[in-house]
């Protein structure tokens, strides 16, 4: 009832652990799957090891989080050494980031045997020269997706930034370059100030907002993308309850990623949301989750 195919991957259910959320180690990825995720995305991996920004790297708000982790990652070599020894019985989507199309293509070649699919982080809002800075430019997005498609046969998912006037422009660029899917959204550029310290809390000053507060914005991004794209869409942003999940599916997302809700509810959030989706489908007389994808677009 919940199984789905997205970006050529077969998933037991439509829920995927979002990139950067407690997903740096094989043991954590296995736990996410054990606790109900149909697939997982790894932390974004780059060419060199990065320790990320100094703390504070996170601000807790009533309706979400602002983070500026600074893309901490072990670098492709250490990642490869650790992950090439492991076997997984669920899809592993490797997230990668780079400065330009050459770096993306390089990473895809190096990590090809580990990944069941790649997600291109074209959208991190707080790392200079990476992510959003290139992902706001449709030509760059086209160039990168094209270069990566030429370098691998594995499915490619382009992760889009919401920090742009019209997200469909970059979605269309990714589609034109032959991406297998897009995921939307990454975090929204944001800031928090401590009034007694009289300064921004994050050491990087600005960060990315995620969680419940961004849900309506993410939902709209998925809705807009679904009306113009033929390729698969993976919905991300603030999904916290099964009702949220159903909204995204109805807006046209074929699969969903969950990040911040893992902090709110624990890994067990995957089982909870899957259970809710299944109950809803039964109660409303649907045979499969596929039957509700995009029905709100009509």
């Amino acid at each position: 009832m919940l199984s789905i195919e997205v970006a050529k991957l077969k998933l037991e259910n439509p829920l995927i652990l979002a990139s950067g959320v407690s997903d740096m180690t094989p043991a954590l990825l296995r736990r996410a799957h054990d606790e109900g995720a149909g697939a997982v995305v790894t932390k974004s991996i780059g060419k060199e090891p990065r320790k990320g920004y100094e703390n504070p790297t996170i601000v807790e708000l009533p309706y979400g989080l602002i983070n500026a982790m600074g893309l901490p990652n072990p670098g492709w070599e250490a990642f490869y050494d650790e992950f090439s020894k492991e076997k997984f019985d669920f899809p592993i989507i490797v997230s990668i980031f780079g400065r330009d199309e050459k770096e993306f293509a390089f990473l895809v070649e190096k990590l090809n045997e580990i990944a069941d699919a790649f997600e291109l982080n074209l959208s991190c809002p707080h790392a200079k020269g990476y992510g959003m800075e290139i992902g706001q430019n449709p030509e760059m997005v086209y160039k990168i997706v094209r270069a990566v498609k030429d370098a691998t046969d594995k499915p490619i998912i382009a992760k889009l930034t919401p920090n742009i006037d019209d997200i469909t422009k970059i979605g269309l660029a990714a589609e034109k370059a032959d991406a297998d899917a897009v995921s939307a959204i990454n975090t929204l550029k944001a800031i928090a100030i401590d009034i007694y310290a009289r300064k921004p809390i994050l050491s990087n000053k600005v960060g990315g907002y995620s969680g419940q507060g961004v849900k309506p914005i993410a939902l709209r991004a998925v809705y807009d993308l679904a009306r113009v794209l033929d390729i698969d869409i993976i919905g991300v942003g603030g999904i916290t309850t099964w009702q949220d999940a159903i909204e995204f599916l109805m807006a046209g997302a074929k699969a969903l990623q969950i990040g911040t809700a893992v902090y709110l509810k624990g890994f067990n959030v995957f089982k909870e949301i899957n259970g809710g989706i299944e109950r809803f489908l039964i109660e409303e007389g649907f045979k499969s989750v596929k039957d509700i994808i995009g029905i709100a677009l009509e």
């Binding site: 407690s22 740096m24 043991a27 736990r31 320790k51 901490p72 650790e82 401590d194 007694y196 893992v262």
Partner: protein, 247 residues
Amino acid sequence: MKRVKIAETWEEAGNIKAFRFNETLNFIPGQFIMLWIPNVGEKPFSLADKDLILVKKVGPFTSKLFELGEGDYVWIRGPYGRGFTPKGKKIALIAGGIGIPPLYALVKHFGNDFEKITLIYGARSKEEFALLDIENYVDEIVFTTDDGSFGLKGFPTDVLRRRKGEFDYVYTCGPEIMMAKVLEIMNFKNVQVSAERYMKCGIGVCGSCALGKYLVCKDGPVFYGEELKETELGRFKRSPDGRIGML
């Protein structure tokens, strides 16, 4: 994030200072806070009491903290994580170095749950023991020093191995090699361990503090011995970039 004033500080041992805040926190012994000094950084510290932390100077952040005194402000968030669950009647606390704060909190707040409490505490030398007023909450203290200059010569785990039969439950915090030894001696049973890993978010979202399939900041820092059986505790830890490194 909450601003608190430092109400008092004192030197508790060589290179170890106590900081008391002017506000009390609702906490469970074993829980920790994230402490922010603007322009310096933000780091995790166990609560020794509802308004107290005990800090060893080891690097840039703790050095800056040592410069602060009565009337200065710091910012905290928390308390976070899973604390101790009182179990057993005749218990041993196995402490090493700066591992004392959560164990002090345990016996100060849950002391009545136990019949006999033995503290076995190891450090390099006499000057390094940070005791606060723990003698009011325990029945017996055994000191060990590496060179025998104070108390028994050797490690707390040597004492535990000898006297294991006297205790029905063990609580430990200190250097990881020591805690791994405690687990081995107890065969992973009837032990609670307060673990440490590199923390960034402190709230279970970034994955920096991974230990096996657990997040130390959320699933811990206190773990039951059995839970740690299949983890890398005592073998390796990860650096802030996620690479596997030495303990």
